[in-house]
Symmetry: C2
Subunit: 359 residues, 2 copies
């Protein structure tokens, strides 16, 4: 029973059916301006009768607002971004905004395209977790065109006028190392994605912009080790790619040293899972023979034995704060001042960390 589908009725059709002008029909349907109650009812009845729905494109073209924000992430399937995204939607949807989502797969070119398209679709603003924090020219360009941008999780080099909501990753990693130092560890290893950035991080520079969170965490590790008066031993810095197997290998290498670390910090949840497996396969008792610290409170960290000590990031809040900040930019007080929110992570001490075994 496929009925012939007429073109979607427009305001003109509704107005005609209700015997009013399109201006009046628009006022009744759009909830703006003044309309007599009786008139409104007649219009609404006609609209319902015809199956009318507002054309949001036409409305947006006139009002200059789409009630839509863009969200650009590197990987929605990553629980970190999925959770932050949930935070964004939970704040933004009740305020009457929709979310246009783009996944970049960490490719700057894809990010550039996404920003362009979103800008052409006239989103009211964009939240972006940059693919490459060192490359922000296209973001600056968008800002110059009048698109408000809030950076999520990564500060980007060369983008002065964007707000940002990030986690204090340097302090988070330093806290974890401090915990291990306090337990008496002196040879503390790290499994990290940012091993290749080591030279730059050891320099005097203290910029946050342009660095991936993993690099900032590595700097926190270096800082804490240095603050304790210990030498930085590059042999304790295990480089890995962003996957479990690579972290597994890096951990095995660290443990194979003549003088292996008694504790290891992993700068990420995925890396931690690889390190945990490596410790398991090596038959090391945790925490006696090896203490381990990871990032993110994922389900597995409390299912394994011992439970994993972790740095808990306020991931959901990261999203809500970014959403709220963007809404403020769009609607309310456009005081113009650029805001950089930095949230604190929390060390959750569990069974995988303890004093090193006496030797």
């Amino acid at each position: 029973m496929t009925t012939h589908r007429a073109a979607s009725p427009s305001l003109i059709d509704v107005a005609r059916a209700a015997g009013v002008s399109t201006a009046t029909a628009g006022r009744a349907l759009g909830g703006y301006g003044q309309v007599r109650a009786g008139t409104r009812e007649r219009v609404l009845a006609a609209a319902a009768e015809l199956g009318y729905r507002t054309n949001g494109l036409a409305r947006s073209m006139i009002t200059g607002s789409t009630q839509t924000i863009g969200v650009v992430v590197t990987d929605v399937a990553n629980p970190f971004f999925a959770t932050a995204l949930r935070g964004v939607t939970d704040v933004v949807q009740p305020a009457g905004f929709e979310v246009l989502l783009a996944n970049t797969g960490s490719a700057v070119e894809a990010e550039r395209r996404a920003i362009t398209v979103m800008s052409e679709k006239r989103v009211d603003g964009v939240i972006v977790a940059a693919a490459q924090p060192s490359q922000g020219a296209h973001l600056k360009h968008a800002i110059d065109l009048g698109v408000p941008i809030v950076l999520l999780d990564r500060q980007v080099a060369g983008v002065a006028d964007a707000d940002s909501v990030t986690i204090d990753n340097e302090q988070a990693a330093a806290d974890a190392v401090a915990h291990l130092l306090e337990l008496g560890h002196r040879r503390i290893g790290v499994v990290t994605e940012a091993g290749d950035r080591l030279a730059g991080l050891r320099g005097a520079g203290n910029r946050r912009k342009g660095l991936f969170p993993s690099a900032v965490r590595l700097r926190g590790y270096l800082r804490a080790i240095g603050a304790a008066g210990l030498e930085i031993d590059e042999g304790l810095i295990g480089s890995a790619r962003y996957d479990r197997d690579s972290a597994y290998d890096a951990t095995i290498r660290l443990l194979a040293r003549d003088d292996p670390p008694t504790a290891i910090l992993c700068t990420d949840n995925v890396l931690a899972s690889g390190a945990f497996r490596a410790a398991q396969d090596r038959g090391l008792r945790m925490p006696d023979q090896l203490s381990l610290v990871g990032f993110d409170d994922e389900p597995w960290t409390t299912l394994v034995r011992p439970e994993l000590t972790i740095v808990e990031q306020p991931t959901y809040d990261l999203g809500t704060r970014a959403g709220r900040r963007l809404l403020d930019r769009i609607t309310g007080a456009r005081d113009g001042r650029t805001v950089h929110v930095q949230l604190q992570a929390k060390l959750l001490v569990r069974g995988s960390t303890g004093a090193p075994a006496a030797r």
Copy 2:
């Protein structure tokens, strides 16, 4: 150095600067129609000079296409939907479509609003993981208005004209039970969200529509038990809410029976994590004293000891298939026939299942 920002330049401005008509400027910029190479260059130069960007709203209003699809899920933070969503974006973005995302929190009212707004924004189609598979009136309404819909993960009652892409959950659960039966188990328990649907499932009905995946899985369990000639023992059906603690409690209750199950199937990944913890806390050796089967290949399932036997759902593919199907509906062969794709899950046998201990 805040320069005064002029209103975004329009095609008229570009045309004037290039000394051509708006029609020609539009053709040069939009890549449609015929334009002489020299003319095109002049127009592009003028556009670049002025910082012109196409107004997608105006374009969409005329062309009747927004190159945007809606995706409606209950919870983006759930790894299942996050992964499926990634599948959708990976298919749809390269084809030139953007994704408008809505999170419903399983509330039908939120879903209704999301569909309405998306429809008003004139998305070209919508993929929806229904909040309540039993309630589909608003979806049917949208379809009648001309919005193509592809159902994801859940068939919905009363929505005849929507395509669907789902997983064969009944077969998946039945396979898991068959595996346990083959190992020699006779008292097989189940921890499920759908315990309250039991009466309806035991009836003769064989509809898939209107049921949550958990309910379909429970039916698979019932079918497999019945097919083996065993009695359904309602005492072996542990009801839980959708959280780890509730599953933990349900498992503890099952294990406290005089005649406890020797194996347990969990109809979901979250429930499985609770059941695993319960088995751990009870000090039960797996698989000897208890065999356990879960759903979804989450990281934790290979980090715990023993590793968990699971039913692996093709979650990412669920998204890619739904995306592709919707694109087909929108662009290509609108043959009109409604398509129901059902993907098969795969049992991954690992250490948590084995023959029951002799007693």
